[in-house]
Amino acid sequence: MILLWWMQIRSVIRLEMKKTFFARRGLWIYILALLPLLLFMGHDFVMSREQARRQRLASQSERQLTYPDLLGVQPGMTGQDVIARLGKPPRRYHWNERRQSDPTSLVLVLHESFHYSDGTNDLYVDLADGKVTNANLREGYNLSEDIVVFAGVFQFFYLRLAIFFGCLGIFMNLFRGEILDKSLHFYFLEPIRREVLMVGKFLAGLLATCIIFGTSELLQILVFATNYSPNVRDLYLYQNHGLASAAAYLGVTVLACLGYGAFFLASGMLFRNPILPAAGILIWEAVNPFLPSLLQKFSVIYYLKALCPVDIPSPPGTSPVLALLVSNSDPVSAPVAIMGVVVVAMLVLYVSSLQVRRMEINYTTE
């Protein structure tokens, strides 16, 4: 019997995959999934141009500079000291300032600006009357900041909007779309348990969303990592838990598809108008941090937030209410969070299985 069900599930998946991947009405889901990738690719493009500019600047220096060389420049040093330390600046600007020293006379103050680079970082040195007033070292990358930005894009756009609405588009249509196309009855007229059909459709949706959003997430991580020089990339991946974070992001993506997929599959069977349940679930997920502790557990985002590998620090001055959006007020361990999503999804799928057994084909009332 199990073998038969498995064969039937595979047949349902085969039928559904074509519809899911190549449906014209699903185009926006691809766009949604690829938006963060485009963002990171755009960032990558800008960063690579900057890097090329720094390399050019470094090659114009009198000698090969290093990061410690750049760090060594301090306010109070003379211009000669700087040149002795770093060589003639490849970019040098100057201007004069007429400053009133007393009511009757003006003094001419020479301002200079030296611009150095070691190929990765920029150093802007401001001098006034031959003395360093400001040494501004701009690092070409700020890994820890970039990691937080990536986490922010993942949590606030990818998880809460892209995957949420992507799952809506795919899972809601598994039954509702076929009712609108008037083709669901073909499934119902086959010797297959309706519960098996539902599981097959759900797995097809899960597979499709995992492939679409998982691939996009993987590419985002790749683009994010290739942004850096090999040394920094190795530092991030192997010493800064980069690989573990990547695996966690992919895992959260899969769990999000599982959790939201279950909700939207049920909604597609229970409601004629998908907008209302979608809005309801969106609001429920959004207000989740403000709900009583027990109710929080009946949402997907509650568990997913706990599994996100990077904590997003609240900017200084953020109200405690907004800070709740970022982290769980009642943190849960990873195993509990994974089980939580799975249990919530299973509960919803159980309700769906009861519904699919009772479903009638009555296209004229749709």
Binding site: L4, M7, Q8, S11, V12, R14, L15, K18, K19, F22, A23, E178, D181, K182, S183, H185, F186, Y187, F188, L189, E190, P191, I192, R193, R194, V196, L197, R357, R358, E360, I361, N362, Y363, T365
Partner: protein
């Protein structure tokens, strides 16, 4: 184990709208036609039989299974619905074959069964083409192929002749008869009464959600007492024969045919009339043929339901 398709006090309401009401039926093997005007409940009965809708009240059983067990029921039942829509992006062959695989058939078996069914409905040439490019008649035939592909014991066909040309209709009618001859149950709904007449072993007449009559056409006709039976007699001296017939106590009315070569007789007891016919036909009156003139679905329908929305 039941060998009938049974409806026990079945009612179906769509909200406040009546689908069918208090239907009790026991359908034997052979071709059974559901006849009635639009909205009479034909499709609802078929959908109830196949579990696409659930009864508000009562119980449906198809041989040994109920429609609540689709995994068992559809192993013996094929249903060609009236819904003229298909899953997108499939060829006719893929349509039949892919859904066969849902039944757990392996790829080779599914392909073989699909081809066989497609050949039976005469659509082999068009099978590799996309269903989206099919004419109405071809879509009708591919749906029939899908209903037939598992060689079901029960074949439910909702308006299966719609959209078919006359030749294809004749082929399909022959196919339905062949399936029924194998001991299968073929349930057909149709508006086209002369075709129902040609196909059916028994009819179920529906009107406004109620079963008005069921059974073999002849039996149903005999039950309709308020309309005397009409018999057409072709003979050489119709006026003389008419005078003799009027003396017979079973005769109610006699009309001489316009061509002066026949008579239309109305009688309340056709069986006794036939028995006395030989005695009356003497003295040089030669009878060419005797045939009932209203012992068909067409007349039964008209007597019981009226003549709205029916194609003869």
């Amino acid at each position: 184990m039941s060998d009938r398709i049974v409806f026990q006090d079945v009612s179906k309401f769509y909200g406040e709208i009546l689908g069918v009401n208090r239907v009790n039926l026991s359908i034997p093997p052979g071709v059974t036609s559901l006849v009635g005007p639009n909205g009479s409940g034909k499709t609802t009965l078929m959908n109830l039989m196949t579990g696409l809708v659930r009864p508000t009240r009562g119980r449906v059983q198809v041989l040994e299974y109920t429609p609540d067990e689709p995994e068992k029921l559809f192993a013996i039942l094929g249903y060609s619905t009236q819904f003229d829509s298909f899953p997108k992006g499939l060829s006719g062959f893929q349509f039949v074959s892919s859904y066969l695989r849902l039944a757990g058939k392996d790829s080779d078996t599914a392909d073989q069964l699909a081809w066989r069914a497609i050949e039976r409905v005469g659509l082999s040439d068009a099978a590799p083409r996309s269903v989206a490019s099919y004419s109405k008649g071809m879509r009708q035939r591919i749906r029939l192929a899908q209903a037939l592909c598992r060689n079901p014991r029960v074949l439910v066909l909702d308006e299966p002749l719609n959209g078919l040309d006359p030749l294809a209709r004749a082929e399909m009618i022959a196919l339905f008869r062949a399936v029924a001859a194998d001991g299968c149950y073929v349930i057909i709904s149709s508006h086209i009464l002369h075709e129902v007449d040609a196909i059916s072993d028994q009819v179920i007449l529906l009107s406004n959600g109620y079963v008005v009559a069921e059974g073999q056409i002849h039996s149903v006709r005999n039950e309709i007492q308020e309309h005397p039976a009409q018999i057409l007699i072709r003979c050489n001296r119709p006026r003389e024969f008419a005078a003799k017939l009027m003396v017979n106590e079973q005769t109610i009315e006699v009309r001489i045919h316009n061509d002066e070569r026949g008579l239309l007789i109305k009688t309340r007891d056709p069986d006794r009339f036939y028995l006395t016919l030989n005695h009356m036909a003497m003295n040089g009156i030669e009878i060419e043929s005797v045939a009932p003139a209203d012992d068909d679905v067409n007349s039964v329908y008209e007597y019981l339901i009226g003549n709205d929305e029916v194609v003869r």
